[in-house]
Symmetry: D3
Subunit: 339 residues, 6 copies
């Protein structure tokens, strides 16, 4: 079975109930998430063999996070129990004209404070078919950035393809006081598949803002520059979103492979349940298409359908199977009750 | 007061909370439903005298189902306490592009295993003004099919009009290993009012698929064949649905009375809360119109409004009164708060 | 800091959970509301110094209401502990074609039965910059109407501007058996800012129904008559609503200042969470614009954005800050997650 | 089947969740209760034919109360829909050294304000085998006291035995401003079975406080006086309670039949779940014993076991069957899981 | 790491909330359990490598059960996806004098209907250090009894020690219509460690009822007979329970090893949270002691402490670690908050 | 009104629901606590004028904490909005033999990282009648220890009495890497009322372990040493606890005033709901007795009753009034329902 390894932080997610603002009720919905964990969990629900390399606190909350890994079928054997706290984020969902709010609280976490050397990359990558990382780990702390750099270099050495989801978090970089571009740009030399939108690429990849134009034209311009600068890159992929309200949006996706710009039709999402993790669901979908040897357009279509489904599911993780994604991709009737 | 008798199985309905997939939380919303029960409960809320003939397990869960009958004002005196389990179904609501899912778990239930002879039809039908059944009872088990056949024959003998909601459940028939048409077609000879869509009629009533055409044309073709073959039939009624998403749909209805095809305007349903039982709400509405001596078009309009309201109410049962249905039928302003 | 005083009743709000009809579950969501309280709470969240003059029962439920005042930062020192019960209302939210339902249960409340003389207006209004009342207090009881009259006269004497939200509640006036116009019209002589729609003005302000025309033309006609009759009035303000369903509506606002009719663009509200208190949120927004010296059109735009946000928040109170309202006013992207 | 009629008010019961004080969470558990309703509901679960004569508000909350009647199998046909509000009470459970708190809010209710003449006693009592009332209805309002007086006189005329649970509520009588004894004492002339403790009898039955002595001696003294004064009385029954904490108590019962004082052994109740309605459960148990022709001691033992079981069940109503009560009476092992 | 294999059915556990009777609220707590699963889950939380051999339905509910296996760290690779339903049980907790109630609903389950041949025992037992079964699997169906027989014989052949928890369920055997003793007695020839109380042994192991005496004397007599008849048996173990109420009980344990009767001190359990699965927690504790090479008395002490802890945890599974069990065993202060 | 100032950190409290272990359900009960906040909140519910000096994060969670201050009537004007996160703790309640567990997560909090100089003590203490601190603030960080030292010195200068609750948290001091005694001992020179048990005093106050003896004898020995060394101390107070289980305990209290050892009777607490904050409730009770000029024994009795009541209330805060505490102190019947 294809083995996918990811590296990144798990977070406790504390959400106010339903559409409530924080602390209207003395309750928080408490689940787990994290960009890389989300991607692996989704791939695990697709049937892949997945491993998360991470550090978790050596107490009950860290143990619960590890249990959550197991629940989603991700191999728990690559978790380092470390000092430090559980990173977390507070989440308040948006509704009609009120946007959603995320408050990160991850400083001092076991992952952020773990020394780069605690991970034994050569063992970890042994037998791996793919390695996935995101820009968040580069931003979290100097030591996590160092570990990420090391891991990507080793993967490249072993000819394991690496995917990187840029996931630019201005807030984290500002706090860190490090220059995002000087960390991120060198990493791209190890990357085969890059997930990056125009604004994020401009913000942290030392890319000139594209000239005025449509979103797709701008994306192509940016992708061309990136592929020119980083020859290992096989494809740059991005998703696009148009919001009529916090609950009613359209999404579509595009990829540039150095030659062609492939673009999907948009999907309309009404009555959105939870959009956190939708980008990670997209990544997992795209990687699945890649592992199956689909065309780039087919990968995008599958990934966008996975992304769409995530909007219907509470929590960070895209709890869907391959047939469920395919049903959306093939335009099934969402109003039919499957009996 | 008009007395309506129904025959069919009550089911425990186990639904994952809100928009969650199964077992995201260790909770299930636990209510009761069942096509015939739903129709009677709705009629009871309209003020009618209703009786459900059924078998329930002779333990606490069966007792709770009986309590639920009472709560909705349905006479509990026609329930047979029997061996066997409580039939149930698991329900996961859909959301935007993710469709809903129902998993039936009704094999071996008290209703399925009760011998046809446990019901004393002549007493049950005594004083009845109407008898309602659905195709589900014919599919559940050979003995329930036998009981249903007997009951319909006796009702016809007593000149009690019989309505039948086809409710074709392929899954149940497949499991049963019996041929649906050979069971269902003879039953139609006792039926006055038939609720049946085109696909279902073709699937289990030994009717030729209609030629290409609009949905309404096809419905008329099918209804004509049925009325020709079963002279007792006074009307064939169907509802139609167009789904933009699991939450945003339009519904309309049509009836063929042997001469005319009557059709309603569509109603637009945004932010659907729960569509299970909407067809049963429609049937109850149509029967009410019939009992009141309304025109077929008026019956359809009332029934469609009842159907629409069901989409706004959690659970299987349409908890609405006649004035509430009429308000929708007369185009009240849904944005007004009634104080 | 600007000091705003309000006079009116707090109510316990008992809502069936989610989209349920009353008592589907043996639970009621239990929060507090009341038109004047809602306005002050919103102004308090905007940073103003607010005081609610009211009477609450001298038992644990009254104490809880007082705690709620404190929670929102409203000065609790102007509450009179009195005999009588806690006024309350039952609330069942609407959904798609089913409208919402409010059942008032406020007769015999501490507020309704408190003698007009229990409030010491001169102390209460000491240092006040603004006084806000609604037509509800005039309807609740003869003694509350008397207290309201007294308070408005004293405020006028002290040159404290008075705003009045007409909030015509037919049901309350009918129960009271008093003629609304004979109570309300004299009060308008003390009012500077009036919030009143056309239908309500006609119903209780002894104003002739306007000739046929657009909603805005009719509003101008009514406002002109009121301003002519009550020279202290500086502006008459109204909101308008168009409902596609209980969940999907558009709102806009207008004001007439004696010369010009100012009108906002409409805002579209999809997937409405809770519209109770939206009018009060509007009033608070308008008053804030007034206190800041904004133009009337700017006041309306801010107020309408506040009104819109309330539709996204469960409960009576608009739990939003000034920057959040401004973001909506300036057309922020509601689909963006603020991190 | 034995037919028992009761007369009294149903109340909405609003309880803070679990062991919380009021409004720690914005939730109230919302069920229905009322002394007479509780007795009938329990008898209905024992299999009796029961009828509640009462008045409920002609709106949705009253309708829900009526639904609750049906759910417990009490005939709803004797309910008068009337103007006025739904009577209610707030309930905060006690825990260890903190006692429970009930706040009544029943003034102005449909029951309290219904004219005595709205009930047609002759029809109501037609076919009745027993009539049950409590002292609460005498206290609620002058009109309910009048209706109660009328009903008891008619029952006595028809030779229907009447049971009265004294249920002295000082708070209600104080509010009412009427002298309890002058209302209650004449009523006793119609009563066959009286449930009354020593303190309550002294407080409202114009009985001299008994001389110092044990609780049982004092009870005998009081019962003797009552039976001497009211020759129709066949038995006076009382329960006794000793509390180690709000959760850990012992209960026992006694009856005086004019000759003997019968006394049960105490039952120890640890981890009490809900003691509201325990007295009503006792009454229902005692009446069942009476209807079965048991000895007084057997009636007490059954009644005390029913009383004990109520302490294990949330809500006002004793949701137990006769076999379950008998199991306790016969000393079953409460630690055994019944499979 | 020690590898423990178990064979048995997983069940969906549907519990009424808190101390409620069934369906007081329209909710059921929905978790998973099953005697063998519980033992393995507890051992997995102790750090062992565990495998459950079972059949689960090939639909979403079966998939959720499998997820639950993973969550507790049990290897999911030995699950057979099969036709048939999910076995389940309804559970109503007891409280003070009201005993708990379990209603099994497991007929027709995937496990019950799976052919004995679907399990490949030789692969399953490969590398196993211990094999655990219970008498429940022998009772569920003829095919599960056959599979169990086969598996035990193979384990014995491979010299893998087998533990058997008798877990006599009269209800299941009665339904099955098979003679328990004729199935169970031959199985004992393969068993090394037997968990069995006196009553159960007499009921299904063809053992003569012991003469009058203390519980411990009777246990010794029974154990002696069993060990004489089944020479492979190394030890017979039993737990004892004395209940003051459903919430307040004492437990202790004993074992007979052919020579000595070892007995623990009792542990007092107040305010019991959930006693389901306590016996399975005991078994897991005993096996752990065995794997560690402790004395029988130490095994019993550890097992009883694990058993005690289970009473404090909701659900079937004993979510405790070895240090937590040891703390109880060593008499830690349960009133201290561990910070 | 007496004005009490406190200095210390507020914490978000995240508790697993009911008796569940962490993350059995994806929910956390989310309230606020903190030793000094708890004391002030309790005093505020007693009617005092209270002020909390603290630092809270300048984001929505900090704002919610501030709202919580207001809710309990604590003046919010002394809160500094600062960078840094919200300190929090995870709490898992114990049950029978399983002890409770608290996991602190307060490093890097706004309070811990705020510079000592952000508080303007002279303004803060202006008008204060009492100043309360705990040893926790000395342990949290060097800067909070410095702020605490400064504040106590200033209070002493202004002759404002200072109370100190030792609250030794080994875990915090270990993490901090500072020597507790070297920080704490000098602070005692400013303290008038000290709350400290024997073990804590020995652990962090540089006091020799007392010779063997009863708990009370040891307490007297320790208190004597402290009072000899710190002449400003007027009294040393301690509580004692004996636990039969996590739910069933006894508590009592003692004080040494330099001459006499005053000791209360024990109170038995069955079915404990929540013991967190009980010590803070005791402190608030003792201070109230002090402010009222009661004897030391009366102060202890009132304080112990307040402490006892806290065990019946979920959350950190003792939501009780003075009359409620007095009722316990005077031995009211906890089994009586107050109507």
């Amino acid at each position: 079975m294809t083995v996918i390894v990811g590296f990144g932080e798990m977070l406790l997610r504390l959400k106010s109930p339903g559409a409530e603002r924080f602390f209207q009720s003395p309750q928080l919905e408490a689940t787990f998430g994290g960009a890389e964990f989300n991607v692996l969990a989704s791939l695990s629900h697709f049937g892949y063999d997945t491993r998360l390399v991470t550090a978790l606190p050596a107490q009950s909350i860290g143990a619960a996070a590890r249990t959550e890994l197991q629940r989603h079928g991700i191999a728990p054997g690559f978790v380092v129990a470390a000092p430090g706290r559980m990173g977390l984020y507070y989440y308040e969902a948006g509704s009609n004209l009120r946007g959603a709010q995320v408050i990160y609280d991850r400083e001092g976490s076991a992952f952020a404070t773990a020394a780069a050397g605690v991970y034994s990359w050569s063992g970890v990558l042994d037998g791996a078919d793919w390695f996935h990382v995101t820009g968040i780990s580069a931003a979290v702390s100097a030591s996590s950035a160092k570990a990420m750099t090391e891991s990507m270099a080793q993967a490249a050495d072993k000819n394991i393809p690496v995917s990187l989801d840029l996931n630019y978090r201005k807030h984290l970089w500002d706090r860190a006081g490090r220059d995002a571009a000087s960390v991120m740009v060198p990493l791209l030399d190890h990357v085969t598949v890059l997930f990056a939108g125009v604004d994020d690429a401009v913000a942290c990849l030392d890319i000139a803002p594209p000239p005025e134009g449509t979103a797709l034209e701008q994306f192509r311009t940016v992708a061309q520059q990136l592929m020119a600068r980083h020859p290992r890159l096989a494809v740059v992929v991005a998703t696009f979103r148009e919001a009529r309200s916090a609950d009613d949006q359209s999404i579509w996706a595009a990829a540039y492979d150095g030659t062609d710009l492939l673009v999907t039709e948009p999907l309309v999402l009404r009555d959105i349940v939870d959009r956190i993790g939708a980008g990670d669901a997209f990544v997992a979908g795209y990687l699945h298409g890649t592992f199956c040897g689909r065309s780039i357009l087919e990968r995008l279509a599958f990934a966008l359908s996975a992304d769409a489904l995530k909007h219907s599911i509470p929590g960070d993780v895209n709890l869907v199977t391959i047939p469920e994604v395919k049903a959306v991709m093939h335009g099934h009737d969402p109003g039919r009750v499957k009996r």
